[in-house]
Structures are given as C-alpha cells and as structure tokens.
Symmetry: C2
Subunit: 209 residues, 2 copies
C-alpha cells in the first residue's frame, strides 16, 4: 500500500448506518477533515462485498489505499487530529480502553447473532448480570477518575470512539446498556458537545441506528 | 495507573499454556527483558480471577501497574524493544494486521466454544471454506510482498504476534490451519530462528499448547 500524499483525499465506505462507522465519522468531523461519505445501501452490499478488503466495512480510502479495521483507523486518525496520548504509557492506556470497548461490543454481538431464542434469553441474562456491570463499571470508574474522560484526564480519540459506538451497543443489546452509568454519559456528552462534532450530529443523515 | 520507573520490574500472569500469552513472552525474550513468568494452574484460577482486571489474563505487571489486553501490551512492548514501524503509516499497517489476526482468532473461538455438535460441524465447514482462505490468504499474500515479514519488508512486533499465536489457532480449529500457507510458515520461521527467541523456545516450560 502506497503512503498517502501530504494532502490526501479521503473516501469513507460504510452502510447508511452509524454502527462501527460513526466513531470514524465523528473523528473526521472533529479534525475538520473533508471526505466523501459513501453509504452503501444494504441491498447493494452483495455486489460491493468482494471488492472490499476482507469483505468488510468500514473502509477508509486514503488517496489510492484502502485501510480497514475500525480501531486501527481511529488510532491513525486520532494521531493526525492531535488526540493521541503524550507518552507511550498514555497510549497504552488509550489502546487498552479501545480493546476493552471492542471486546465488550463483540460480547454483545454474540447475543445479537444467537438464533435460538432460549439460548439468546440465557445469554442476555448473563450479559446483564455479569458482562455489563464488569465492562461498563470499569469504564465508568475510569471516567470518574479522569475528569470526565476515559484516559489521562483529557480528550483522546478513545472518548470519540465511545461517543460514536454507544448507539451500536443499544442496537445489539436491545436496550440502552449505558443509561445508568452517569460517568459514561458524561464522557459521551463531553464529546458530543464539541462544536465540530455537535455540528456533524445536527446535520448528519438521519438513520435509526 | 502510575507511570513505570526507568527500569521497571515486570511480572507476567497467564496460564501454564502458550495461548494468548506466548506472543508477549516471545517479545520479552526478543528484547532481553527480565520478568517473572507467573503461570497460574487452572485449578487455582477461580481464586485469582476476581483479582485480575476484567477477570482475565494475560496481565503484565509493570512495577505496581497491571496492564492487560494482549494486543495493547504487544504494541507497547514492541515499541520498547524497537519493533514498531518507522512512520504513522507503517504503524497503521502493523495495527491492521494485528486486528485482522485477533478477529481471525475470535472466529475460531466461536467454533471452539460451540456446544451443539451439529452446529459446530457446520461452523467448522464455513471456517474451512471461507474464513481461513480469506484471512490466512490475505496474511500470506502480505508476507509474500514483504520479504518474509507481514509489514514494511522487515521484522515488526506483529510478526512476533503471528509466531506466538499460531499454536492457539491449531488448538481452536483442531488442526494446523496455517500448514498450507508457505509464506506464513516462512514468516513464523523468520521469528522463531532469531537467537533470543530460539533460545526461549528451546528452554521454555513444555506444555501441550
């Protein structure tokens, strides 16, 4: 993959859906990075699928190169827009939180994709009683200790990840799993009230999730 | 979490098993970093579990701080031992490959944990026909283009990740899924033949996986 030019063009491919794509869109909005927001209609996905790396989206096209894996993209753009940590140690904390959030999402996906109704109900119980208190309790405690942010007492790209991904948690679990975690709500609000991001949210295409 | 001292002490917690822990052990060996290799016996895990962050291992204790999430640890140590990329762009490629490998592993876990034998057989078929060719084909092609390494034509921490994790793929799938991918075998061999790593492999505790 060829390294991008100094002022690359950006083209973002995802569904017409917030989902895994929205944290990236929020970060692009934060950084004032212009891009083409390509939204593939669900019914056209089968024809696009084989053209995407690993047959998946989100994909960010930077000049001619297509990059993927949403957390990797967030880390890269986060550095570009000045939202990385100031030391290797801070970056380790940021990366850990990103991995925790991804792991949490995948546990919700495990419930969401279960087709056996009985097993699904059982899995949802476990999620409610164990996974959610463990993971969201952990993240909530971090925000409490970090001045309304997840890491290092200040805004980093992982806060933007949280604000962008929390809608997907609702879809996957079937209810607002983070509603009772006041510090997490606080952290999300701290991101969503940033002028550039607020502006994006007010003007973005309306979608259910 | 407090930032480590200049010459921190390292203590590594995992099972007596290569699994998710081995890529980290290989990287520590590569860097000549001394550490205490704590191996929790399976039968003692229930008492240790609540003491571990997010009730999971591997955990690396750096001075007094316990860090977790194996890919985050690998990225942090990788930088410490000089195996990061030389630019943000190279680091993006490295991170993408790490995320691809983690995603691949989790797909294998989905089969491994399936308890319904009929569904398990079906899932294993899909893995064989779709997931393995797609993911390992992709990684194999990268090594082919990169001089025996995954990214940037040289050794980085993600090659060490590959060499350390490939045993776990075998366990999860029930057979050596990477056996027919000659470039991947090459990349693994390029890591395993590094003197410090070779020495670790020859002297490490013997375990089945």
């Amino acid at each position: 993959m060829s390294e991008p030019s100094e002022n690359p063009t950006y083209k973002f491919y995802y569904f017409n859906f917030r989902g895994l794509g929205e944290p990236i869109r929020l970060l692009l909005a934060y950084g004032g990075i212009e891009y083409e927001d390509v939204r593939i209609p669900k019914e056209e996905w089968p024809e696009h699928k084989p053209t995407m790396p690993l047959h998946q989206m989100p994909v960010l096209e930077i000049d001619e190169s297509r990059v993927y894996q949403h957390v990797s993209i967030l880390r890269y753009l986060g550095k570009k827009v000045g939202l990385s940590g100031e030391s290797d140690w801070e970056n380790l904390q940021i990366d850990m939180v990103a991995d925790i959030m991804n792991e949490f999402r995948l546990k919700l996906v495990g419930v969401y994709q279960e087709t056996d109704e009985e097993i699904k109900a059982k899995k949802l119980e476990d999620i409610k009683n164990e996974t959610i208190p463990l993971y969201l309790g952990k993240l909530d405690g971090m925000v409490e200790e970090n001045n309304g942010y997840l890491v290092a007492g200040k805004l980093t790209w992982v806060d933007v990840y949280l604000a962008g991904i929390s809608d997907l948690w609702k879809l996957l679990a079937g209810y607002d799993v983070a509603a009772d975690y006041s510090n997490l709500q606080n952290a999300i609000e701290n991101v969503n009230s940033i002028e550039t991001i607020k502006n994006w949210i007010e003007n973005r295409p309306e979608t259910e999730f």
